[in-house]
């Protein structure tokens, strides 16, 4: 049976893993390669790295770091942030990443999804989106608007319409990161996750708001997510991957238990 994936997210800034709340007030947590190795040994199913300042500072992605991670772990990982086009994608994949996450770039240049899928296969192209609640049913029928550049810019795009469009363009997977829930540890935005997960044919990864194992149970059942991103709850050492998987298994959710 296909298991539900648990994916720690490492936000990297100046070579260190950091974590903030709603994209603000980031604090340093550790070395990305060491954390990746520890997470892999601890039973995470996949990892995602966001070079969170690359996009806003117009810097290229840190390829040396991608290579170091690829040497340290032998499970899939995705890289996002600061991707400017096919050349960047090619470099990140050649460095050993499994997937590339595009977010701001895809909003500005949607064709990059199709070009990336054609060049490297859909399975390599992850659409990352940062939707925020929007009270304008005419412009945003789903109730959520897509934001970019770390919530610094509104796009006028409806979250569900954008998800479907990205799928049609060739995205292999969608990470739905709720701006409202990000870093709050109050639980995933279940309504948003379910809305998108039940309307697309490709896997949907829930992100933002995980604070305890029950939140993952909820997002896999009510939220219909195929995978879930976690950060603070395990970065701080409060929970282990094993503890989370035990809770999921107890709730009847299939998880990978041997690693």
């Amino acid at each position: 049976m296909l298991t539900k994936r648990i994916i720690p997210c490492l936000d990297v800034r100046d070579g260190k893993v950091t974590k903030g709340v709603r994209f603000q007030n980031n604090v340093e947590l550790g070395d990305p390669v060491e954390m990746a190795a520890a997470y892999s040994a601890g039973g995470c199913d996949e990892l995602v790295f966001y070079d969170i300042t690359a996009s806003t500072e117009c810097r290229p992605i840190d390829i040396g770091l991608v290579q170091a991670v690829a040497r340290a772990i032998h499970i899939p990982f995705a890289v996002g942030g600061g991707i400017t086009g096919l050349d960047d994608m090619s470099r990140v994949l050649a460095a050993g990443a499994e997937k590339i996450s595009v977010n701001s770039l895809a909003v500005k240049t949607p064709a990059i999804i199709a070009e990336g899928a054609r060049a490297f296969g859909s399975q390599c192209i992850v659409l990352g989106m940062d939707p925020v609640r929007a009270n304008d049913p005419v412009r945003f029928p789903s109730g959520y608007e897509v934001t970019i550049r770390g919530f610094r810019e509104h796009t006028g795009l409806d979250a569900l319409a954008w998800a479907i469009k990205s799928q049609d363009l060739g995205a292999g997977e969608i990470v739905v990161n709720s701006v409202d829930a990000d870093g709050t540890r109050d639980g995933y935005e279940i309504n948003l996750t379910r809305l998108i997960a039940t309307r697309v044919r490709i896997p949907v990864v829930a992100s933002g708001g995980a604070g305890k194992p029950e939140h993952l149970v909820q997002v896999f059942t009510e939220g219909c997510a195929d995978a879930a991103i976690i950060a603070s709850m395990t970065h701080t050492g409060e929970y282990t991957i094993r503890r989370i998987k035990d809770s999921l298994a107890a709730a009847g959710i299939p998880v990978r238990k041997k690693w």
Partner: protein
């Protein structure tokens, strides 16, 4: 020396890094002479089947790969590489494979919309019979899959392992003499996947 066959179908870095981790010498090559001179051959690949077969033919690798298998060299297919060793693939309006193992490669057609295509993630593999590749790996271990199509061998005799997804129980590992092939990615399947690759490096097919 292990030859990792490069036919411009996806990223081979993680396969190379897995063998580096095992301290087994390997090289990524599309040179038929280098491939035939290797001790073992790994045939990976991701992406579109049609483009992959075109590239294989353009590089003259179709004959090379058949020769590798006929010569009895230990051969490991991975993901798209595994699919291409069959007769025909449903992808891209129908693609003719290498025909090394009789059978077809079919698309997942889930009745339940919750079963997403591609299948992405860790799924259980049940060994159908013992094989040197599985030594030291617990039955029912999970491996990492990324695929929209699955192998459907003509004969059950080649099935080494099975996996269930989207309403089908499919052959996730096949084998015939000196050939073994996985639909999953051992190079991305953590410690257990590395063990399978290590077993492949030690495998002495009869």
């Amino acid at each position: 020396m292990i030859a990792i066959v490069n036919y411009k179908a996806g990223n081979l870095t993680s396969v190379q890094l897995a063998f580096d981790h095992l301290k087994v010498p390997c090289e990524i090559t599309s040179d038929p002479a280098r491939i035939l001179a290797a001790d073992r051959v790994v045939f990976p690949g991701v992406g579109s089947a049609g483009a992959a077969m075109q590239s294989i033919r353009a590089l003259g690798l179709d004959e090379t790969l058949r020769t590798v298998v006929q010569k009895g060299m230990p051969f490991l297919g991975i993901c798209l590489g595994t699919q291409i060793i069959f007769d025909s693939l449903e992808e891209d309006g129908g693609v003719q494979g290498l025909g090394i193992i009789p059978g077809t490669v079919r698309r997942f057609m889930p009745d339940n919309p919750r079963d997403k295509v591609p299948q992405i993630g860790w799924n259980t593999v049940t060994w159908s019979r013992p094989h040197p590749l599985f030594e030291g790996i617990a039955k029912g271990s999970e491996f990492y899959f990324v695929h929209s199509y699955y192998p459907a061998p003509a004969s059950g005799a080649v099935i080494l392992g099975e996996t269930e997804y989207a309403g089908v129980r499919f052959a996730s590992v096949v084998g015939l003499n000196n050939l073994a092939a996985t639909q999953f990615h051992p190079e991305k399947s953590g410690r257990i996947g590395l063990r399978l690759l290590e077993n492949f490096c030690r495998w002495k097919p009869i």
